[in-house]
């Protein structure tokens, strides 16, 4: 199987991916043999109860963690073949992250937070400003450029996080339960915003949630249970 490198339009591919943790209580099979392909431009919702392995899977895809078995491919490249530096560069250049909460840098303003990754990439200042402002405007945050994260509501903070994740035009955005700390109305609005970005920029999204309302709106639903795909219920997209 390992010789079958996935075609380029497959942004993410998991082949027999395992992630087992050895704990004093025994082996935890957080991810237990997952085969999955995500195509360029898809908006995939990763669903499953708490502890089903959603974060584990997103961490593997985001090159933050390594599988104990199987392989993860990004843009057709096997992550296990890459050096630490290459993985850091991959995260910086190809992947955008949105985490559950409090994932903005508190001492930076909204604009600076969004510019930060571009700064790491060495994007010139003028371009940084212009791109960050444009994406913040797209997310309805044009009036908050110079605010600090603490001055924003939870929903606004997550919008800034989404702006930061997409601003450098990554191939893939990974959002791990971005609405977990938001009320249902704000959650739906954030989801709409991400879906709109998916449409207008053709950015691939994988977004985990355990909110049934959000699952219902997914064009592609990936269900996880006990570290395995729940194939019967996967919607077609």
């Amino acid at each position: 199987m390992a010789d079958q490198t996935p075609p380029k339009e497959i942004v993410v591919a998991l082949k027999g991916a395992h992630r087992h943790y050895t704990t004093p209580a025994g082996v935890v099979r957080a991810l237990d043999g997952v085969d999955l392909e995500i195509r360029q431009g898809e908006f995939a919702v990763l669903a499953g109860p708490s502890g089903s392995g959603k974060s584990t899977m997103l961490n593997l895809i985001g090159a933050l963690d390594q599988p104990t078995g199987g392989e993860v491919y990004i843009d057709g490249v096997a992550l296990s073949s890459q050096s630490k530096q290459a993985l850091a560069a991959l995260r910086r250049d190809r992947i955008g992250f949105v985490f559950q909460s409090y994932n903005l840098i508190p001492v930076l303003t909204v604009l600076e937070n969004v510019e930060y990754v571009m700064l790491l990439q060495g994007v010139p200042e003028a371009t940084r400003h212009q791109r960050a402002k444009a994406i913040l405007a797209e997310l309805g945050l044009e009036g908050m450029l110079n605010r600090r994260p603490v001055e924003l509501s939870g929903g606004q903070q997550q919008r800034v996080a989404v702006a930061r994740a997409v601003v450098s035009k990554p191939a893939l955005v990974l959002a791990d339960e971005p609405t977990a700390n938001l009320d249902s109305q704000t959650s739906a609005a954030l989801m709409d915003a991400m879906m709109a970005l998916n449409q207008t920029h053709a950015t691939t999204f994988i977004c985990s949630t355990h909110d049934p309302d959000l699952m219902a709106r997914a064009s592609r639903l990936i269900k996880l249970r006990d570290g395995k795909l729940d194939d019967r219920e996967e919607a077609q997209g």
Binding site: S55, L64, R91
Partner: protein
């Protein structure tokens, strides 16, 4: 454009907990202040000590007949004094030279008497070499061969006063017969040198020579000269030594002082280092998740290390600025007004005149280097720990 961002981040991060930052910075500032003033004092004491000995008895240096210093004998006279003095005075770097005749003798007044060192000098020549004139507690230099100066301490012990008579007796060099001359006390000295202040009588070289039965001779020539002169000054049969060589103990003292200053510097820096380390460790623990996110979105360990170094530097800089703000005015005060020294003893030398703090580049450079090195070490420790943070762990436990 990358460095300003790191600095901006560092500056803001440092002020996230202003109370803690101020406490740490104050500690750094206080330590810096203490070391700075200590440096000023060490140098100032050193200079005062030097001035005390070179202004009083030792002068910048002395010339003797070879062997005199090891075993002072009244017979060991410098030959051909006039010619020798001519050569010495013509040597570049030599400002002044004063021939001295040295002998032991007695002074007495009424029933009171005391064994003393007799020092015969040419008053005008001696005034150009030493600064006894600045240390009279009463009276002045003798006007002619009939005058004598003694230390204030000796005068007090023998209940003598300026203007009073004094009998000075000595033994004729050839016959061994005792001679006695009657002189008038012209001045009382407080030089800080125990020899001069407690057990010497200074009279004219002519008078002492006459009493000893010698003619135009000297046991010693005291010099006021630049330090570099002494190694260049070589005269056949004579022993030329600067004050450091003449008083190895003082030399040792100053070495010891420099050493103890270095120790203090080290201890203060070490304590400061622990303070910064503690502050940054607390910040590291609090910001575990934040560092994890920074790494997750592509910040390299090197860049994170750069941020931590910048934060440590900001902390040290704020501290050093506070320290300087405190140290400079105090140093200014102490370097102009001085710290009064009411007869404090340093290795046998008694300092009567104030000590002025002096700041020279070398120790300040050490201090700056020390603070910089310390900041680097502490930042390195924290950066190494931050490099080990795994984003997955940080996100899970945040």
């Amino acid at each position: 454009m990358k460095a300003p961002m790191t600095l901006k981040l560092a500056w803001r991060n440092v002020w996230r907990n202003p109370r803690r930052t101020l406490i740490t910075a104050s500690a750094i500032g206080l330590g810096f202040f203490m070391v700075f003033i200590l440096i000023g004092f060490t140098e100032g004491t050193q200079r005062r000590l030097e001035a005390t000995v070179t202004d009083a008895w030792l002068a910048s240096g002395q010339v003797h007949l070879k062997g005199y210093r090891e075993a002072p004998d009244v017979d060991l006279l410098i030959p051909d004094l006039a010619a020798t003095l001519k050569v010495i005075r013509a040597t570049p770097g030599v400002e002044a030279a004063s021939p001295r005749v040295l002998a032991s003798g007695m002074i007495s007044m009424g029933a009171r008497s005391s064994a003393v060192a007799l020092i015969g000098v040419d008053f005008s020549a001696e005034r150009a070499v030493t600064r006894w004139g600045e240390s009279f507690s009463g009276g002045d230099w003798p006007q002619g061969d009939g005058g004598v100066m003694i230390g204030e301490a000796l005068a007090a012990r023998m209940e003598l006063e300026v203007g009073g008579p004094l009998n000075v007796s000595m033994a004729d060099l050839k016959t061994g017969e005792a001679t006695s001359i009657k002189l008038k006390i012209s001045g009382l000295l407080v030089t800080g040198d125990p020899l001069l202040d407690r057990s010497a009588a200074i009279l004219s070289r002519a008078a002492l020579s006459q009493g000893l039965g010698i003619k135009d001779a000297a046991h010693q020539i005291a010099l006021r000269a630049a330090p570099s002169t002494f190694s260049a000054l070589k005269i056949e049969g004579l022993d030329v030594a600067d004050w450091r060589a003449l008083s190895p103990m003082l030399e040792k003292m100053s070495e010891l002082q420099a050493f103890s200053m270095l120790i203090t510097l080290g201890v203060v820096l070490f304590i400061l280092g622990l303070g910064i380390l503690n502050t940054l460790t607390m910040a590291l623990v609090e910001r575990f998740k934040e560092f994890g996110i920074l790494k997750a979105i592509g910040t390299t360990p090197a860049r994170l290390g750069g941020l931590i170094l910048a934060e440590a530097s900001v902390l040290s800089l704020v501290g050093v600025t506070l320290g300087l703000a405190l140290a400079l005015p105090v140093h200014w005060l102490l370097s102009t007004k001085g710290l009064p020294m009411p007869g404090t003893e340093y290795g046998g030398v008694i300092i009567h005149r104030p000590i002025y703090t002096i700041i020279t580049p070398a120790p300040v450079l050490y201090l700056a280097l020390g603070v910089t090195l310390l900041t680097l070490i502490v930042a390195g420790i924290i950066a190494a720990r931050a490099a080990l943070i795994r984003p997955v762990e940080a996100l899970r436990h945040g």
